[in-house]
Symmetry: C2
Subunit: 218 residues, 2 copies
């Protein structure tokens, strides 16, 4: 597996904070690239620092034009006020099988977002929870029972500004066609797709609602 | 979406460091549960602290009985010697569509590993790279060209001890069958599967090798 720092064809790799980008500077291209990555999934990895040690927590997210909303009770309990978090969303599209082990890698799309999160309350929290729910499970905000006062109090939503982020995409075939080791090379794609819904036996007296049935494969 | 701290049926959530488990204390069950999660994937999210800010980097991994091996150039450049990292591996198995928005969640399997990584060199590095390559792309270590001295020098492999880890699994239907809001409920499964290999046009004179063709769906 090649070193991400050594080659632009590198496998899955992160972005140094020092090379971070302000979305305002990236303009529409950068912002649209970020939204594309965010639209393609609903689980992120939220990184916080607890007693000088990193903690990486998988959690669900939603977003609008200005903020990422994450469901973050564990993280919020550990959060120092004003501390920056890192949220990473990654889609793995396939294995890059090169002629050399060194050029092996992963086709992927990834976004890293840095920001100081705000714990939402009141109407803001409700609106963010709706945004998050509709991103993760479109149609359910109107179909399921909305949270009551007690449930809302037991829910923690963090808003992370979408100002500082970087997007990385690696796609296509391996880059070592000129390698003297002349063997098969290519891509082994990895696909993620929704499967037919499985009805809870205790809800079998209801048909599967159309907004679930028509959910497009991701 | 319910608060992970409020319910065992909670959606995707992390594990507090304060509730961490030593694998030795968990015995065979804990260790086997960890290996099951690690076997089911090949991309992790590596969390490190850089200038008091968390950085979460997606990268490939392999493992043996005692260590997780991660491909970590970006992280290793930023790593403070002796600093603890957090590596999280997450598999999303489906959406839990409950009667109430509050009980919505995700069926998932996740492992969080804490440890002080060691940058490997020499024979240890080569052995770990082989382990990692064979985990990510079984059969390729013998089929592709192995790294030469220069490539090996340009590769960074971190070894994280598999001593401190926690595994979380959420499976099955929503837990709110007694909710007064009587609507359809169930699971929308999410499946990840390998697709037929795509041959690099510049390698079309070679057949797809059997070890790629027979790769089982994950």
């Amino acid at each position: 597996m090649s070193d991400p720092s050594a080659s632009s064809s590198a496998p899955l790799s992160g972005t140094e904070r020092t090379r971070h980008r302000r979305l305002r500077e990236q303009g529409r291209t950068g912002r649209e690239a970020l939204f594309e990555v965010l639209r393609a999934g609903f689980v992120c990895h939220l990184g916080v620092v607890v007693d000088d040690v990193p903690m990486v927590v998988p959690t669900v997210y939603g977003f609008d034009a200005g903020h990422l909303y994450v469901h973050g009770s564990v993280a919020s309990r550990s959060l120092t006020r004003g501390a920056t978090v890192c949220v990473t969303v990654t889609h793995v599209d396939g294995l890059v099988l090169a002629r050399s082990v060194f050029e092996h890698g992963v086709d992927y799309r990834s976004a890293m977002i840095y920001g100081v999160p705000r714990v939402l309350e009141g109407d803001e929290k409700l609106a963010a929870l709706r945004c998050l729910t509709e991103h993760v499970a479109p149609g359910q905000w109107d179909y399921a029972r909305r949270p009551d006062r007690k449930e809302l109090a037991a829910t923690t939503i963090l808003a992370v500004p979408l100002d500082e982020a970087s997007v990385k995409v690696r796609e296509g075939h391996p880059d070592d066609a000129d390698d003297p080791h002349d063997v098969w090379a290519g891509i082994l794609p990895l696909a993620t797709s929704w499967q037919p819904p499985v009805t809870d036996p205790r809800a079998a007296h209801h048909p599967v609602p159309p907004h679930i049935l028509t959910r497009l494969p991701r």
